[in-house]
């Protein structure tokens, strides 16, 4: 299937996020690679996803799961070669799947040649590519992000006897975006991959590019100017490619990153994610409605990207103290489950492996405004291993079957980059693609039908949102509308059966058609429309005026 020529493709996409290392190992070295991933593309095509977001695969010391890049224009040897990547890219495109790759531009690894040169001498031409200081007192008051491991945003470089700035780990020095040469170098990196055919970049840690005294060194106007610059070049040379921003901020603070449609095409909606979890636990729609009603309008060509879980901790930066405490108490009662300001768990264990709740959350993900991102393994309900340290517990090998190493690799188990989940509930003997392919009512089969349904209606990606707010607060109901396409979504957030009366007078005369079974429901009239929903049940109704 050829890629469609719609430049707004990212608005209709269902993105699948994965790390090459975790997905499939073709050469039995215990580490996933591009050749292995290419072999699994049929699975992903069958799943129905339309884009893949790859975590960093560049050469790296791997002290931050690849976000510490040592070479922007190559592939880590463990994952294969550039040719392997090109083969993968072509195979994905042949299946109608677009590829989004990481662009970690805020910082490099301290092993990057740029930094090695910069620290080698104060006179080196690359010296000014990073942010240096004679003291560690500049930019005071700027928050530390990795509070569990770092005590300062400055690190001492014994080689050049000065401090360098790092917003993340101390082995990740920040690039100096006040130096035009840095921007040029990064554009060349982008051009390298764009010419190869990648469809988009996920820009990591966007808010932190520029530093200014007296500020929190985030979301500064100079950062926006840099983004506009790169976007302009992208549109001119590579129309139809997209930029996705990682800015873990409130929607109001992220909104400027869309500019007038001239900065990012898409950005993550971070605050929505914990509130979906919160709403289901509280059995109350308030958190979701509150945050979406506070979400500003964005230009027509732009899009929010929404997700349930990803490769990082379930971040609790964008919640209040009260909300954070609640999330910890409800979802991370064991302190081992907590890291930084978040929770390092996967979707299924957080839902106590309750299929109904897993389905409800995925139903929300697929029906809310924005482009959904599915984290690898969540489509089969994979578990986690909170004892692996850092965020590695949610980055274990993909479970393909019940055989050795879950079908991920033919290497000896000891050689795997990470142990396979092996407990009685989530172990690969129980949770794997093969068995779920062969079971009619499996989560995987259900996810396929959900994604297929989502892909069949453009309203989910591009439609407006209006909440209905029935008096039963355990029911979250909203209408998505795009031209003649209208969908009513009704979700029971609670663990018990609920009755709800919906005010659907403005849709009087419409026939609701339940979208999964294509069953007709009674026509809407003047009276409140009564529905009953089982625990965690949800309906998607297509409204037809016939």
């Amino acid at each position: 299937m050829a890629r469609q020529k719609d430049n707004l493709w990212y608005k209709d996409a269902v993105i699948y996020q994965l790390h090459v290392r975790t997905f499939s190992d073709s050469n039995a070295d215990g580490i996933g690679d591009f050749a292995g991933l290419t072999q699994r593309l049929d699975y992903l095509q069958d799943l129905g996803i339309t884009a893949i977001w790859l975590l960093p695969f560049y050469p790296s010391p791997l002290r931050d799961d690849g976000y510490d890049i040592a070479d922007y224009s190559s592939v880590h040897p463990s994952y294969g070669s550039l040719d392997d990547f090109k083969t993968f890219l072509t195979a994905a495109h042949n299946r109608g799947i677009r590829i989004i790759i990481e662009m970690v531009l805020n910082h490099t690894s301290d092993q990057h040649p740029w930094f090695k040169e910069a620290r080698s001498s104060h006179d080196n031409p690359k010296r000014d590519w990073y942010v240096w200081s004679e003291t560690d007192t500049r930019y005071e008051g700027v928050p530390i992000i990795f509070v569990d491991t770092e005590t300062s945003n400055w690190a001492w470089d014994p080689t050049s006897k000065s401090y360098y700035w790092h917003r993340f780990f101390s082995h990740q020095p920040d690039l100096n975006f006040d130096n035009p040469a840095v921007i040029e170098a990064l554009w060349e990196v982008m051009r390298f991959w764009l010419e190869m055919g990648v469809d988009g970049f996920r820009f990591d840690a966007v808010p932190y590019l520029v530093e200014r005294e007296g500020t929190l060194c985030q979301n500064l106007p100079e950062t926006h100017a840099i983004i506009r610059n790169l976007r302009k070049r992208l549109d001119e040379a590579f129309p139809g490619r997209m930029l996705l921003a990682e800015a873990n901020n409130w929607p109001d603070d992220v909104r400027p990153y869309f500019g007038d449609g001239d900065e990012f095409h898409a950005a993550f909606h971070f605050p929505l994610m914990p509130r979906m979890f919160m709403s289901v636990k509280l059995e109350d729609r308030k958190p979701i409605i509150d945050v979406l009603e506070k979400t500003p309008e964005i230009p027509n060509t732009c899009q929010w990207c929404i997700f349930l879980r990803n490769h990082d901790e379930l971040t609790l930066e964008m919640v209040t103290e009260v909300e954070r405490d609640y999330m910890y108490d409800e979802y991370a009662v064991d302190k081992t489950m907590r890291i930084n300001r978040g929770i390092r768990r996967r979707l299924a264990p957080m839902m106590d492996n309750d299929r109904r709740r897993i389905e409800l959350l995925n139903g929300l993900l697929m029906s809310m405004p924005g482009t959904p991102i599915v984290y690898y393994g969540d489509e089969i309900g994979m578990g986690d291993n909170i004892y692996l340290g850092d965020r590695n517990g949610v980055r274990t090998p993909m479970q393909w079957n019940g055989e050795r190493n879950a079908g991920f690799s033919n290497a000896d188990p000891e050689r795997l980059y990470s142990p396979v989940i092996s407990n009685a509930v989530y172990g690969s003997q129980v949770i794997n693609v093969d068995s779920q392919e062969r079971t009619g009512h499996s989560l995987l089969r259900w996810m396929k039908s959900l994604i297929q349904l989502r892909n069949s209606f453009q309203v989910f990606g591009r439609g407006t949102l209006q909440f209905l707010k029935p008096s039963n607060h355990r029911v979250l109901a909203y209408v998505r509308q795009l031209g003649d396409e209208t969908v009513l979504v009704v979700n029971n957030l609670s663990n018990s059966a609920q009755a709800v009366e919906l005010d659907v007078r403005r849709f009087k005369g419409n026939i609701p058609i339940e979208m999964f079974g294509r069953n007709l429901f009674p026509r809407f009239g003047d009276l409140p429309y009564l529905l009953t929903l089982g625990p965690y049940q949800f309906y998607w109704f297509q409204l037809r005026r016939i």
């Binding site: 109350d284 308030k286 009260v322 029935p470 039963n472 607060h473």
Partner: protein
């Protein structure tokens, strides 16, 4: 099975369904909860906290009360499922649309500093005319029962200084510490609340055990367990429950081994409500209600000595001093004239010795007048026993106590014009002890067979 057989079964099944539906319709007609309220409760679902509010169409104070409750939920109970139930009765000259709590503007209650994670639910029981306090309470108890509330409170919008802190104090003992009844305590002027101090508190403490100082209060807390127990009592047709149900609820808790406590709330302000009911009407409602409770619960107290201290959160009493606006001379004159006018009635109520002592008091001059506590206790026990034996119309009987109470009030004002709060508290404790001491006298009089005089 043949098609005919299947059809026959189906017809029988439909007939059964219709019959059941008729039965449930008939049952529905008996219920005091209307369908609209039921629909609202259905939408609320199970809750942790419920605060009932009885507003009589007073928009300004209702708004203030609702705001205080919502603030309390938002700031003190951020995780709990909470609902406000308003037993609302619109005044005839006010439209419900204007003044019901559900019409409190959202922007007023959705505070910027709100910490609440959940939707705060509001339910309005809209009556055509203002409901009686009993019906309002019954509605609130039914809501608490249906919603399986764990901790509840009732507040009055007439209390103009209701604060989020008060709501939290009333709810927390039931929610956190498993108390079933939470009575309030207020800062009082030493001459305020004399009826409570000289009658309700010491008498209920001696009879039912457990000393609740504010038996008749506008705000109190209770557990869902107590709510269900009270709701299921077959008392709702009683006039005393209709007019003043609060003491009955407190006594229900005290006499049935529910855990009771008191919380100190501080100074209380009330909206001006005109002259209010006169003392005789107050007696009819409150003392009548107390005597009715004694009558209806005699099996629980008559042969059972129970005196358990009630746990108190905060100071147990806080009295302030200052000049009194009471007209002592008028009170004294009303005592004298009342005793004289009601002599035949008092003669049929009181023991002859008690009656003689009271008549003796009438002849005293103001300066020498004292109403001894022993005599006051004996008088009350005579009244209670006579109420039990129904020696005359019970309403008339209770109203006859009013002039005697005026004598006690006059005596109290005269004796304690210069007393310190501690001294007043000591006197109050002594009065409690006297009630306890004379309890056997009450029991004997209660049990004696009496021939009702024609």
């Amino acid at each position: 099975m043949t098609d005919n057989g299947r059809r026959h079964d189906q017809v029988q099944s439909f007939r059964k369904l219709r019959e059941e539906s008729e039965i449930s319709s008939a049952l529905a007609e008996d219920t005091f909860l209307d369908d609209d309220l039921l629909r609202q409760l259905m939408a609320v679902g199970e809750v942790d906290l419920l605060v009932g509010i009885v507003s009589h169409g007073n928009a300004s104070t209702t708004t203030q009360a609702v705001l205080a409750i919502e603030r309390s939920f938002q700031q003190r109970f951020t995780r709990q499922r909470a609902v406000i139930v308003d037993a609302y009765g619109a005044d005839k000259d006010q439209s419900s649309a204007a003044s019901g709590p559900s019409n409190v503007p959202e922007q007023n209650v959705r505070l910027a500093d709100s910490l609440s994670l959940r939707t705060i639910q509001r339910v309005t029981a809209d009556f055509a005319v203002p409901p009686s306090p009993g019906l309002a309470l019954r509605t609130i108890l039914a809501a608490a029962d249906l919603l399986r509330a764990r901790a509840c409170a009732v507040v009055s919008p007439g209390t103009t200084n209701l604060t989020p802190d008060w709501i939290a104090k009333l709810l927390k003992p039931a929610y956190q510490d498993k108390f079933d009844f939470v009575a309030p305590l207020y800062t009082r002027h030493k001459f305020q609340g004399l009826l409570a101090r000289n009658l309700f508190y010491p008498m209920s403490r001696a009879i039912f055990g457990g000393g609740i100082r504010e038996l008749y209060s506008d705000e109190w807390g209770f557990s869902g367990r107590l709510a269900t127990d009270c709701l299921n009592q077959d008392v709702w047709h009683e006039e005393h429950i209709g007019s003043r149900p609060e003491a009955w609820m407190a006594i229900s808790a005290m006499s049935s081994d529910f855990r009771c406590c008191q919380v100190f709330l501080g100074e209380k302000s009330q909206s001006a409500t005109g002259s209010g009911p006169d003392i005789v009407e107050v007696f009819r409602q409150t003392v009548g209600s107390l005597f009715w409770c004694m009558e209806s619960r005699q099996s629980e107290w008559l042969d059972r000595e129970k005196s358990e201290a009630v746990q108190t959160f905060g100071p147990e009493h806080e009295l302030t001093s200052g000049p009194s606006e009471l007209d002592r001379h008028r009170i004294f004159e009303m005592f004298r004239s009342g005793v004289t006018e009601l002599e035949p009635i008092l003669g049929s109520i009181l023991d002859s010795e008690t009656h003689a002592e009271i008549k003796g008091l009438v002849s005293l001059e103001e300066d020498n007048f004292r109403f001894p506590s022993e005599l006051w206790v004996k008088t009350l026990y005579d009244f209670a026993a006579s109420y039990h034996h129904a020696v005359l119309n019970r309403d008339h009987l209770v109203q006859a106590l009013a002039p005697l109470y005026r004598g006690v009030t006059f005596s109290y004002l005269a004796e304690h014009s210069d007393s310190s709060p501690d001294e007043i508290e000591a006197v109050n404790e002594a009065l409690c002890a006297e009630f306890q001491r004379q309890r056997p006298y009450l029991r004997d009089k209660w049990k004696v067979k009496v021939e009702v005089k024609s």
